[in-house]
């Protein structure tokens, strides 16, 4: 007779830490979001007043906030599928041969994911620079005029997203590669004996068997892109004129840089709610495939 407590015992150490450092802060943020707390609160706690949903109304009336939500949605809409597809494709290609050359290439694809954001900012900021950057230098050699990679509002979104996709694929390629090991070799051999081409095998057998990995990558990439922060922050500081300001950057600037904790907490709760809803939808769609 299996002990009913076993699953709880397995889960509790990790959950304890998560609750302390993950859930409790969310609850605290929810409480703070109903106040006007800012840095002066630490000088004198009487400076904090309960304001109910004022922070939320202020937020929803702020056009900059809506612009940032729109930007975030746009980035996620194009960025997440791009990352999932590219990572999957590269993983499948890398896995198509056990030759040492293929194995060596893995490190190259992984490198962007592990490079510190400071280095990325410097390198890409340099590559993209309008007057003095390498990309425009190369373009000028073939007669193309300067491209305003980071200054043109529409193009800046693309440039920033490109860096984020470049960075985001590395980890997911590795996850897909690990998942590909779970595809039983017998199935693949059986298919090729039946005369199926490798393309057909890939689409009809391998990819369906990677469902759980694709699901994982989709959800985590979506959550990450809804919190998009690093790349626009270091490359364009949310500019030009707010074109690349994501919801997280808006929160960071309005709330944390200005130490308006009440306002920032309200924004964080709203962002959290959006992410939670989208994730729940994704979970619902996939709930049939949860069990194996």
């Amino acid at each position: 007779m299996r002990n009913r407590l076993i699953p709880y015992l397995f889960v509790s150490p990790a959950m304890l830490l998560l609750v302390a450092f993950g859930i409790v802060p969310i609850l605290v943020a929810a409480v703070i979001s109903t106040t006007n707390m800012n840095i002066s609160a630490f000088a004198n706690w009487n400076n904090v007043d309960f304001v109910g949903i004022d922070n939320y109304t202020k937020l929803f009336n702020d056009p900059d906030f809506w612009q940032s939500i729109g930007n975030t949605g746009l980035f996620a809409l194009f960025g997440v599928p791009a990352i999932v597809l590219i990572s999957l494709a590269v993983a499948l290609l890398l896995n198509s041969s056990q030759h040492p050359f293929f194995k060596a290439l893995r490190a190259f694809y992984f490198v962007p994911a592990i490079t510190a954001i400071v280095a990325i900012a410097l390198v890409w900021g340099y590559l993209y620079n309008t007057q003095f950057g390498l990309l425009n230098h190369l373009l000028s050699l073939v007669g193309i005029p300067q491209v305003q990679w980071l200054s043109d509002p529409a193009l800046a979104k693309f440039s920033v997203a490109l860096v984020a996709v470049w960075r985001g694929t590395g980890l997911n390629i590795i996850i897909f590669l690990a998942a590909l090991q779970g595809v039983p070799k017998e199935y693949l051999e059986a298919a090729s004996l039946d005369g199926a081409s490798s393309a057909r095998t890939t689409f009809s057998i391998t990819i369906p068997l990677l469902r759980f990995a694709i699901f994982f990558v989709s959800i985590t990439t979506t959550i990450a892109w809804l919190q998009f922060f690093d790349e626009p922050f270091v490359l364009t500081d949310g500019g030009p004129l707010g074109a690349t300001t994501s919801a997280s950057i808006f929160l960071y600037k309005e709330g944390f840089r200005l130490n308006q904790f009440g306002y920032a907490s309200a924004g964080s709760i709203v962002l959290f709610a959006i992410i939670a809803v989208i994730t729940l939808i994704q979970l619902r769609i996939r709930s049939a495939d949860d069990e194996y």
């Binding site: 002990n3 076993i6 002066s40 630490f42 000088a43 620079n129 007057q131 130490n259």
Partner: protein
């Protein structure tokens, strides 16, 4: 099975107890009554500070704080009540630190510590110029300002044998220099430089706060400043892309004139020594009100609940002595604030440095309004950049600025 369950429970219990036990053997908190003074120094100047105070007889432990992370550090320190003993405060953050209750008022201490008295420092930064809520909560330490940098060789080729002295001249010279050719400009305006239009307004003889301390941009002098700003763009003399690199622009000659700080001068000297003699710093261009520039830099403050007040004040006096101020300049290139140090002959032997020190005599700090950078600086840039970069209507844009900044005060 039951045994395994107990085993796991036991492991978790042991882990929690160990965690709790290890917590008790943590080191003594900073700011304790004997022991070195903890000093927060910004950026990578930590080692330099230790060198500076090596002979002071006061034991010091420096903690370096990255410039971009000071908000996080400050917030957690005030939230928990434990901070350093002395901290470096960038002037733009002074109001925030004071509002957080992080700084000890020093008015009563100044009598016993003559080196810290306001008369030792330029009027732009001393005493009431940097007091918050009527209290002096910091002491000036390093200074920074903005002056005009020009490529004298390029100006000479265009027929100008001296840098422009007024804003009208700036505009005229810039137009000529832009005509040099495709991809060439006359003047660079950094799109993130919020103090610049304010410096121009000051040099027109105006101010951005009224006599009651309220922010007020709706003045004729500011309107003239906006004319200069938008005029330069209208002439096509200024690059419009936001990622224009000011150092590269200056070194390559693409943008041979701009207003910047000593850090640019140092950057050019160290990375482009072949340009020596081909560029110079000169006073900020004048308007009707003379040449009035920005007083930036850092002050030093004492943490509000430090246990070592006397030692902290002694250290402040030590670093405010002219010899130490000049020694700091030698170590880091950051200019002193003590007036007698600013007048030092050796310091001023470099003509560019003399320009900086002269400028500091009349420079002003930005108003100590709560959240100046975000509430005012950002709105100012948004309004102006909307006009010059996206063609927004000038009056409408400025009206928006006035509305958003009305009611902000430095009281």
């Amino acid at each position: 099975m039951k045994r395994t369950a107990k085993g796991v429970l036991a492991a978790v219990a042991v882990a929690s107890i160990t965690l709790g036990a290890s917590a008790c053997s943590s080191p003594a908190p900073a700011g304790d009554a004997d022991g070195p003074l903890t000093v927060w120094v910004m950026g990578d100047s930590g080692a330099n500070f230790e060198t500076l105070v090596a002979d002071s007889g006061i034991e010091v432990e420096v903690v370096a704080i990255p410039w971009d992370s000071i908000d996080e550090k400050l917030t957690t320190a005030v939230a928990s009540g434990s901070g350093p003993d002395i901290l470096q405060i960038g002037l733009s953050k002074l109001r925030t630190f004071a509002d957080a209750g992080a700084l000890m008022p020093l008015d009563d201490e100044l009598a016993d510590h003559p080196a810290l008295s306001p008369e030792n420092f330029p009027s732009g930064v001393a005493g009431t110029s940097t007091s918050v809520g009527g209290e002096i909560v910091s002491v000036p330490w390093t200074s920074d300002t903005r002056v005009l940098f020009t490529r004298t060789d390029i100006l000479a080729e265009a027929g100008y044998d001296a840098p422009p002295a007024t804003w009208d001249e700036v505009r005229e010279y810039a137009k000529t220099l832009t005509a040099r050719g495709e991809g060439q400009y006359g003047y660079y305006i950094p799109q993130w430089d919020a103090p610049l239009p304010i410096e121009i307004a000051w040099s027109m003889g105006g101010d951005v706060i009224d006599s009651d301390g309220n922010v007020d941009f709706d003045t004729p002098e500011f309107a003239k400043a906006v004319d200069v700003y938008t005029g330069l763009y209208a002439d096509g003399s200024v690059p419009v892309n936001s990622d224009f690199d000011q150092t590269q622009g200056f070194i390559s000659g693409v943008a041979p004139m701009l207003v910047s700080g000593p850090y640019l001068g140092n950057g050019i000297s160290s990375s482009a020594p072949e340009l020596d003699g081909k560029w110079q710093a000169s006073p900020l261009p004048e308007g009707d009100g003379g040449s009035v520039s920005l007083f930036a830099g850092s002050n030093l403050g004492v943490w509000h609940n430090t246990d070592q007040k006397d030692a902290a004040l002694d250290l402040l006096e030590y670093v405010s002595a002219p010899e130490q101020q000049l020694a700091w300049y030698k170590l880091t290139g950051e200019l002193p604030t003590v007036s007698s140090a600013l007048e030092d002959e050796e310091l001023n032997s470099d003509p560019n440095v003399k320009v900086y020190t002269d400028q500091l005599a009349t420079a002003k700090v930005l108003p100590l309004v709560s959240n100046w950078d975000g509430a005012v600086g950002t709105e100012l840039l948004n309004a102006l950049n909307a006009i010059v970069l996206t063609g927004a209507d000038r009056d409408e844009s400025l009206a928006g600025l006035y509305a958003k900044t009305a009611g902000l005060s430095n009281k």
